[in-house]
């Protein structure tokens, strides 16, 4: 077993190192894209914890991402908090929301759970519009760079500097990646998988499946909120679009593509899908300019093809066929 652990750890550290190198090597445009992708990858990892490992399909994770986004963003905009405390505020909002939603939604299972999470997320989205006086709704809030700088040990970090931004995103991703690795290898992680595979059997082995599932919802919500809070602080924009149902569907898509219940799958899925959408949109727009071809068609097709032919995703298939030790 420890052989597999060493391999896993080496792989993860290798990926982090590779991403660090890319930060220096990539041209400016792509480095910015990857900064964004890294944060969305964190979001996808949070989603994967609940969906891939615990087997609970939520259609409302946009609300957790947005809890972090708005928690941090509004703290900076209205309360004048500095970036680190605003980040903590975002995390706290995510945790609180996940606790409340989890306590209610976990009373349901399967399809009902999907619908309930979708509905709660919709209420959250409508709330961001309804309380537009504070949130500026669709239009959103722009956070000035001065508000988002971090003072740390006498050093001054400016988030508009692309290298700082990339570094911060990579830092968050690394921390979350290693945390997820630790969780899935822990006894708690094994219980989550057991719950996914056969919940009644897990109960009859003496596990309190409700508290385990709730813990997973909260962890998933906090990680998603961390991504949202970081997004607000690094990119300086907070808007209702991030709370819309689209941002609940995208993490599902990214995780399915990369491989649900693998630790690195979400990141790969996010990266691939982002570039796929980007490339195809511009290609199609050039080839068929009158047809209004946008990413929604690509996303739709991808979802259907994935779920029909490729449900294990990239890393999932790799794990099944060749690398059985992949976490």
């Amino acid at each position: 077993m420890s052989g597999a652990f060493v391999k896993s750890l080496a792989l993860h550290l290798g990926v982090i190192a590779l991403l660090a190198v890319l930060g220096f090597v990539l041209p400016a445009y792509h480095r910015d894209v990857v900064s964004r992708v890294l944060l969305l990858g964190v979001f996808a990892m949070g989603y994967n914890l609940l969906f891939g490992y615990t087997g609970l399909l939520s259609l409302g994770h946009a609300m957790f991402f947005s809890a972090g986004l708005y928690g941090a963003g509004l703290a900076v905009y209205h309360l004048g908090w500095t970036a680190p405390t605003a980040f903590a505020a975002g995390l706290a909002c995510g945790a609180l929301l996940a606790l409340c939603v989890g306590a209610l939604a976990l009373r349901t299972t399967g399809v009902a759970f999907m619908i309930v999470t979708m509905m709660f997320a919709q209420v959250f989205y409508l709330a961001t519009l309804y309380f537009g006086a504070w949130t500026r709704g669709d239009e959103g809030i722009v956070l000035q760079p001065a508000q988002r700088t971090i003072e740390f040990a006498g050093l001054h970090f400016n988030p508009t500097d692309p290298m700082t931004r990339y570094g911060a995103a990579l830092l968050l991703l690394s921390v979350v990646l290693l945390i997820t690795l630790a969780i899935v290898r822990s006894p708690h992680g094994c219980v989550l998988v057991a719950i996914r595979e056969n919940e009644e059997r897990t109960k009859m082995l003496g596990y309190n499946t409700f508290t385990n599932k709730l813990a997973s919802v909260v962890a998933s919500g906090v990680i998603s909120a961390a991504a949202g809070a970081a997004y607000a602080l690094l990119f300086g924009y907070v808007g209702s679009t991030f709370a819309s149902v689209q941002y609940s569907i995208l993490p599902l898509l990214w995780v399915l593509l990369g491989g649900a219940s693998t630790t690195l799958g979400p990141l790969i899925g996010t990266l691939l899908m982002y570039y796929l959408v980007d490339l195809s949109s511009s290609l199609l727009a050039r080839a068929f300019p009158d047809w209004n071809l946008s990413h929604i068609g690509v996303v739709g097709l991808a979802l259907i093809l994935l779920v029909l032919f490729f449900p294990k995703g990239i890393l999932g298939t790799i794990r099944e066929r060749w690398l059985k030790w992949l976490p």
């Binding site: 209610l104 999907m114 619908i115 209420v123 047809w291």
Partner: protein, 293 residues
Amino acid sequence: MPFGPHLLLATLEGLVSSAVLALTALGLSLVFGVMRVVNVAHGEFFMIGAIVAWWVASLFGGHPAAGFVAALVISPLFVGAIAFASERLVLRRLNYNPEATIVATIGLLYLLQQAALSFYGPEARPVEAPFNYRILLPWFGYSGYKLFVILAAVVLLFLTWLVLTRTRIGLVMRATQFDRETAQAFGIPVERVYAGVFAMGAMLAAVAAVLIVPISQAHYLMGQDPLLLSFIVVIIGGLGSLRGTLVAALLIGMSDGIVSMFFSPTLAKMLATGAVALVLVFRPQGLFGTAVR
């Protein structure tokens, strides 16, 4: 306008919403009741129904009634065909697995939106009502067409109820809903029933859209609200219960109309969405559905 007549106006508007909503939600309810799948693309069937209606109406130069009647026939058939194809090509291959079906229908939702965007465009376009008759009440004039919509919906709901309860096809559907394995043992071609029900659900949404499109406009994003409201109706009314769907549609349509008129539409939606989530959590069988065994 004084309060009383304002309320009457809101009530009439609410009835129109309820009528269209009842038809749309019934389609969703049938699909879930018989096939046990949640079709997230249901709103897009509604939207395509409206867009096809616009297209058919634009083909008929003369009296708008001709185009309207043609649309009433052609649009459901078109949408039904799309639904049938989706069921055969995708849903059946997934073996109606609940999670996979939801993901697949989300994909279908996006594809249909893209199709509408490509073939129809991002604009909202109006469709002329088949007739323009204004009924003059002491306080305000009201569109005769809207009253026609209510009437038409009631007739269609009644016809659907007849089919479900009085015909062999309806019996076959209800048998499959009640116990799939036993139905199969009795020689009922469950796969064909599923395809038929899925198409029928889509067609009901399309008809509702044809009725409503002269009042609102055809737009490629118009499926989102009907989807959400249909969900709410089906969940509150109880999945698979016809009576529940009707009562819930009336409740939701009326309250949405009234609350939207007197308060903010956003608030109305918030309350409705929150309510349905709580109903699912605490009383999953809805108002009329039977508790899950």
